[in-house]
């Protein structure tokens, strides 16, 4: 997402928690119960979009 920064502080660490949450979301997706894969995937993709913008 750094390529999409139009204006921002040199230190983006105040926003870094999002990257950790994204990593957590991916981990949850990988470990998802197969019966809930579709639901989990939908939640994941929304998470990625909404965290990174």
């Amino acid at each position: 997402v750094r390529d999409k920064v139009l204006a921002g502080p040199p230190d983006l660490s105040p926003f870094a928690a999002d990257e950790r949450r994204l990593g957590d979301a991916l981990t949850r997706r990988i470990n998802a119960d197969p019966d809930s894969v579709e639901r989990g995937l939908a939640q994941l993709v929304l998470t990625i979009v909404e965290l990174l913008r």
Binding site: A7, G8, L46, I48, R53
Partner: protein, 190 residues
């Protein structure tokens, strides 16, 4: 399996691997969905594809992972929505989405007056940016401000410059402006 990418004008002529399925006066831009499990890289490749499509025409991006089995299902997905979707296309025509987020540079101390001051500053930042946009959406979030602005392409530089000015005036806050994005936040009716 087909991945729905975006809604566009009926006259849209995308290049492969994207194709247009026309229905109800609009085009649904779609592509074969990648096989196997969707990865973060797949998501970013899809985002890049939608952004390239955005360069060649007005579109309403479809949420990630909108998949249907065949073209008949694509037509069914937009059946009866042509008028509404054409109106949304007009709403975003010539504009892009910019996202602005505001966070404190230091953790909260529990001082309610300091917290109120930060919230007030974030509200003021939004109030300063909103007049530069055609439309705006503020999302509930842990951030002090997480907003999306629908901005005429020719006003993008003005909004970014305003963000930089606001940053100078608020050294205790980190203001992040990203974009241009497809108008995800303005693709659906309110």
């Amino acid at each position: 399996v087909i991945d729905l990418l975006a809604i566009a004008d009926e006259t849209a002529r995308p290049e492969p691997p994207v194709r247009a399925v026309r229905s109800d006066g609009i085009s649904v831009l779609c592509a074969d969905a990648p096989a196997g499990e969707l990865t973060a890289d797949d998501l970013w490749r899809r985002e890049a594809l939608v952004e390239r499509l955005m360069e060649s025409g007005t579109l309403l991006p479809v949420r990630l992972n909108a998949r249907v089995p065949d073209e008949a299902a694509v037509v069914a997905a937009v059946a009866g929505r042509g008028e509404e979707l054409r109106a949304r296309l007009e709403h975003v025509r010539g504009a892009v989405e910019l996202a602005v987020r505001v966070q404190p540079t230091e953790p909260a101390t529990g001082d309610l007056r300091a917290l109120a001051a930060r919230v007030g500053a974030a509200d003021a930042i939004h109030a300063a940016l909103a007049p530069l946009a055609r439309d705006a959406v503020v999302r509930p979030a842990p951030d002090l401000l997480r907003a999306a602005y629908l901005v005429d392409r020719e006003r993008v530089d003005a909004l970014v410059a305003r963000v930089r000015e606001l940053q100078q005036g608020h050294p205790d806050l980190a203001i992040l402006c990203t974009g241009p994005w497809p108008p995800y936040s303005f693709a659906e009716p309110e």
